[in-house]
């Protein structure tokens, strides 16, 4: 047998072996994949049912006009999106939503930081104050909104107390200059409890040695706060920033209970406007188009935060 033939046979043998091995690998890979899918299936099915299918449906509805029960009536392509940008309502809702975030998120984080610093003091009975600072966790958004609706009541609320000291009626919820601010105040109040607890918890995980060595180096209380406490809290701040911002984006309950989006659309935040168009005006397509826009805005915003803000965050 000439050498070349030998080599040929050998090589084909080798090839066969290799291909056999590859086949085995592929088989195993498929098996692995199926097994993985089985493990994942509960999560996947839930995601399909509650995320992907509704998402797909939203896209579909947003390209139609519907009858008042939500049955698709006519395909209109991008008309609903075109209307979003032609009418001032969507721009107004976006603007008000960002304003609302601006009013609520930094305020509630700052106030909570202050309360957490107070709650971190080693005093007798401090746990009572910690409880007081965090008590709003136990209050639902609807309850808080109703409470504040009465506080803002033009006749019997805080206006009555103010009238006793000679301050005349403040139009808390009935003027477009003050309504958004009044609702924001409710939200800040409600948010403080959770924020304080999270900041306080993070503060208490900061190792004592850091403060001790800083004290030996002669750092004042303020410098210790600026150079040790704040940097070590940055991951908590980042977490709160993301969570509070997304929550503010979704604000619905206080608006629904206190203002219904008025006066003059001044509190018509995006999610409320979607609700209004969907349930109330029966414009399902238009509402779906708005939610798709909300989806993209939140996607962009969150990725932005993760890419840029996260770099400045110190993780332990």
């Amino acid at each position: 047998m000439p050498q070349s033939q030998m080599q040929n046979i050998l090589s084909t043998n080798n090839q066969q072996k290799i291909s056999l091995r590859a086949k085995g690998k592929r088989k195993r890979a498929i098996k692995n994949f199926i097994e993985a899918m089985l493990y994942l299936s509960p999560a996947l099915i839930l995601f399909m049912a509650f995320v992907f299918i509704p998402l797909f449906r939203s896209f579909q509805i947003s390209a139609h006009i519907t009858d008042p029960i939500g049955r698709l009536a006519k395909f209109v392509g991008l008309l609903n999106y075109q209307r979003l940008f032609e009418t001032p309502n969507f721009a107004n809702s976006l603007k008000k939503t960002f304003l609302f975030i601006l009013y609520t998120v930094p305020t509630s984080i700052l106030v909570s930081l202050g309360l957490a610093v107070l709650g971190d003091l080693r005093l007798k009975g401090i746990s009572f104050f910690r409880m007081v600072f965090s008590v709003t966790i136990a209050i639902s958004g609807a309850t808080a909104s109703l409470m504040f609706k009465y506080i803002y009541h033009p006749t019997v609320g805080v206006n009555y107390l103010l009238s006793l000291v000679g301050i005349s009626n403040i139009p808390w919820l009935v003027s477009q200059q003050t309504a958004l601010m009044s609702v924001a105040l409710t939200t800040v109040w409600l948010q403080i409890g959770m924020n304080t607890v999270l900041i306080l918890a993070a503060m208490q995980t900061i190792p004592e040695e850091l403060y001790e060595s800083a004290m030996i180096d002669g750092a004042s209380g303020w410098r210790r706060f600026i150079h040790i406490t704040l940097p070590l809290l940055s991951s908590t701040f980042f977490f709160l920033l993301v969570v509070d911002m997304l929550a503010a984006f979704q604000t619905f309950t206080p608006i629904h209970i206190m203002t219904s989006g008025g006066p003059l659309e001044s509190t018509n935040l995006l999610v409320y406007s979607i609700y209004r168009e969907f349930y109330f005006n029966g414009k399902f397509g238009f509402a779906a188009a708005q939610s798709i826009m909300l989806f993209f805005i939140m996607l962009v915003l969150t990725s932005f935060q993760f890419v840029f803000v996260e770099r400045k965050v110190y993780y332990e």
Binding site: I69, K74, I257, F295
Partner: protein, 482 residues
């Protein structure tokens, strides 16, 4: 917190957000202040026992039906169960269970959702402005069919009330709770200001002048008592438009033919907002936003001398201020004296609908129930519990109603106002499928005018355009036009 865990939580939260963003959610079914029908102040009832429903009968052949209603407070807690009990006791073939479904809007949304599940009530109470929508959705059996089959005599029923719920020449639903708005005023304040408490203002101009006299200031010039207050409520605008003789929509309010256009930006409509704005600019009106109940509270607290609200709140108002001051009632103000002869108020409130998805036996029971509730005795009871009008004349002769009229003579204004109104296309009110949207749009327009963002003409032109667009889209989506 470790970085991984943090990422994981971040992703989790984003998914949660996406989820909720894509699915506009209904939260907390609270009372909807903007579009609620004439609100009924819960009347204070002396020690009236809570009626408990008799247990459902055991026999198989008894037809059980659900009755959805939107009456809160004592009306839903006492009056409605009492009336259902009376019906169940009056015969043995049907058994009605009343179920409170929240505000009219909530109830309508639930009905829309349940149409796909077949789990629907046989009879349902819904607000006046849902009439066109209910007819167009083709999920109801017009009561006309039962009236014809039964040879039911409707001659005793208030014609103006029946007319509102007539669509395409057929009685679509049976009126149940009906009311109109009127002017309430503080008689003591009238006397103190040198006005005659027995001759209240009748026209826009007279109301304006009275408001000037009634408004009181403190030493630094702040308003302590407003002359008049009205909540920013689309229903009031509809009523003012009707008493001015203006149409809400084209084709005679959508009653001669399908409405295709909103027409409330007419000179009549503009005049209403100019009047409103004039009093507002002079500082004669209190600012209570869109909430009717807050205006009433201000009146009870003697912070406003006059206000406009539904006749249905009379009993609650009388019971609340008892002994503090005297309440007077007057017709809803008209643009001029001549308008009293040519036009009138629209009937508001709600009616009872028979849902066609239920079986013929259930629908027959629903009709029996509706007939029973339209009887003079039931109407007299309902009328005295609330301040809603009885829907038939003979209910006024029931002793219960007579006693009530002696106790609350102010209610005569309401009845007279109903009876002086001619029955024509104006007083029958607009018949459009997007009424909730229209009402809300007009409320926005009023806010724009009061805030100096737009003139009355501009604001109404814009609102009319929005409503016209909504009507067009509605007509297309319902297959009413091509």
């Amino acid at each position: 917190m470790s970085k991984k865990l943090f990422h994981f939580m971040g992703v989790l939260i984003i998914f949660a957000m996406i989820l909720s963003a894509c699915q506009p959610k209904a939260e907390v079914p609270v009372e909807e202040p903007v579009v609620e029908p004439p609100v009924v102040e819960e009347p204070v009832v002396e020690e009236e026992p809570m009626p408990t429903l008799a247990p459902p009968p055991e026999e198989e052949e008894v037809v059980m039906i659900d009755f959805w209603h939107s009456m809160g407070g004592d009306l839903g807690g006492i009056a409605i169960p009492q009336m259902a009990n009376d019906f169940n006791a009056s015969q043995s073939k049907c058994y009605v269970e009343p179920i409170f479904q929240g505000s009219y809007d909530d109830a309508l949304n639930k009905l829309r959702a349940s149409l796909q599940t077949q789990d629907v009530p046989a009879v349902m109470q819904l607000y006046d402005i849902g009439t066109r929508l209910m007819v167009d959705l083709q999920m109801i059996t017009p009561v006309q069919e039962f009236i014809d089959k039964d040879n039911y005599d409707v001659s005793d029923l208030e014609p103006n009330v029946l007319a509102y719920y007539t669509a395409d020449g057929k009685q679509a639903s049976m009126p149940f709770n009906t009311s109109t708005p009127m002017l309430y005023y503080n008689k003591d304040m009238f006397a103190a200001a040198g006005l005659d408490p027995e001759s209240p203002p009748r026209t826009f101009e007279e109301v304006w002048e009275a408001a000037r006299v009634l408004t009181q200031y403190d030493d630094s010039g702040n308003v302590v008592v407003s002359g008049i207050s009205m909540s920013i409520y689309g229903w009031f605008f509809e009523q003012y438009l009707a008493v001015s003789g203006g149409y809400y929509a084209n084709n005679a309010n959508g009653r001669d033919a399908l409405a295709t256009e909103a027409t409330f930006n007419s000179p009549e409509g503009v005049a209403i907002l100019e009047w409103w704005k004039g009093m507002w600019d002079e500082g004669l009106m209190g600012n209570y936003g869109r909430v009717n109940a807050d205006v009433r509270t201000a009146f009870y607290a003697e912070q406003t001398a006059m206000f406009v609200d539904s006749t249905a709140v009379l009993r609650g108002a009388m019971d609340t201020v008892e002994g503090k001051f005297d309440i007077g009632t007057a017709y809803l103000p008209r643009p001029n004296e001549a308008a009293f002869d040519t036009s009138g108020t629209i009937i508001g409130g709600g009616s009872l609908w028979i849902i066609s998805d239920s079986s013929p036996e259930e629908q027959a029971c629903a009709w029996e129930f509706i007939k029973f509730q339209a009887s003079p005795e039931q109407q007299a009871y309902w009328h005295t519990m609330s301040g809603y009008f009885p829907i038939r004349e003979t209910a006024y002769d029931v002793p219960l109603a007579q006693e009530w009229r002696e106790q609350y003579p102010q209610f005569k204004t309401a009845v007279d106002q109903l009876h002086i109104a001619p029955n024509n296309r104006v007083t029958q009110g607009g018949l459009i499928g997007v009424f909730p949207t229209a009402r809300q749009t007009i409320e926005g327009a009023i806010e724009e005018v009061l805030a100096d963002v737009a003139t009355p003409q501009e604001a109404l032109d814009k609102a009319a355009q929005i409503v016209t667009d909504a009507i067009e889209e509605y007509n297309i989506s319902m297959g009413l036009v091509d």
